[in-house]
Amino acid sequence: MAQPITVNLISGRTIQQGVAIESGKEKPSYRTACGIIEMDPSDLKRLGAWKNTNVKVTSDYGSVVVKAVEATQGPHPGVAFIPMGPWANSVVSDNTYSTGMPTFKGTPVKIEIAINEPVLLGVELVQRQCGVKVG
């Protein structure tokens, strides 16, 4: 059994994220673009995961299942990247240091393999996290 690893999580825009939010956040394309975590190959190895494996990311602020992919803008060992969106925001630090701004970049997270857990669609993920009753 592979051991969970700890990395420093940042989030941010990607061009795929930009296209996906304009084509519809309720659609699977949004999940494909943003329901991922970009990891350095060395971190993937440390985790003992193949690329395109579902992983569970957990921080002091929450947890979320995303698909682990190999970093497209690496190398960045020790740093992982989830594109800006509800998947990242399920785990980022909401500490604003009284500036109004959450700490979207620089949240320590634990990553563990979660092959059998699904990555939810964007709207669905938020509704579940918030306990919204959906008809």
């Binding site: 061009i15 970093a71 960045h76 009284s98 500036t99 709207v123 918030c130 919204v132 009753k133």
Partner: protein, 438 residues
Amino acid sequence: MTKTITDVICPFCGTLCDDIEVTVSDDGKKLLEVANACVIGTEKFLHSQSTDRVTKPRIRQEDGSWKTISYEEAADYTAKALAKAKKPLMYGWSSTNCEAQSVGNEIAEIAKACCDNTAAVCHGTTLIAVQDIGLPTCTLGEIKNRADRIIFWGCNPAHAHPRHMSRYSIFPRGFFTGKGQMSRKMIVVDPRCTDTARMADVHLQVEQGRDYELLNALRVAFKGEWLPDVVAGIPAEKIREAADLMKSGRFGIIFFGMGVTQSLSKNHNIDIAIAVTKDLNEYTKFSIMPMRGHYNVTGSGEVFAWQFGFPYSVDLTRGFARYNPGDSSSIDLLKRGEVDMMFTIGSDPGAHFPISAVRAIAKVDSVCIDPHITPTSGVSKLHVPVAFNGVECGGNCYRMDNVPIDCRKVVEPPEGMMTDLDFLTMVCTRLKKLKGAA
């Protein structure tokens, strides 16, 4: 027959490209082709044509399902919810035009609401820094015509502002920069080797969260003072080389983004980056500019400022304007449980706020005005779909360098759909009646 509309403004990012060409059907009802825009902008124009758009307001029922209602009913609901609330938060404003923002401000004034725009999770900390230290900046044409030192700090225009480098910063041949890219040196500071960083002459792969230290080291290097061997993961020698490269230009610019506004130190990162810029003006000419995200977040700040005196996070609950991010800012208000009604327009906090703040939205009465189905509409009680601003209606917007550009309408919205301005005006009229305002 089709017709082509030129000089169209792209309502996606703060680059606010105004050279888009859009081909529409002869009756002006169908948008057929988009030229000159980046892939995101093209998608924005084309998505307005999708057939599965929500075109009527919907209200969530007890069982969680949506019920379609009229715009009149939606305006009634919104006005009543605002009138009733002790501390409504009216958030968003960055993807709508200044005229709608202006009516929104009037509503906020009557409702005695807190109002905030997406700077809250974007360049709000930049605004705090500007308030502390100022901002030597310029318009984007100055970069095109003069700049020979381009620094991208914590931003990735290759992804977030796709046409920025070709239109303004790296490639264009301007009046004093006839050789285009050849006349410029490019420095990128980013903890990742981003697609932007790969193009740079110098990439400083800063340790995440230590931008403040690195910027401080640059200031120390300008003055030739003592430095530790390594700062933020960068050897002192490399820092001194970068400092000399900056000083040796004729006209330099620092563009910065979320890498610094959202990382540890936040406003202080910007504060000291501005101090770096100010220092460099002792040696050469230097400017600094935030890479604003939403196409009209800048405009929202401008309208807030000339009407209320503050660019975002404005608290009108006491009947006059107050401002203090940390207190009057959306994330803090929501997280602390200070808000009893949420009104969202022209943005998607459901997708872009930390989940603890989104949970607070889901708990209270809420209205979401947005052409799209979004995580915010997904947790709101009322969803009011509207026409796409900048595609289906025009209106003034402000580019990242504060230059105002009037957006164009290029195609008709689906029949019966209202614009932000139309709907807000209806809400305003109703709220005035409820509050007995003049």
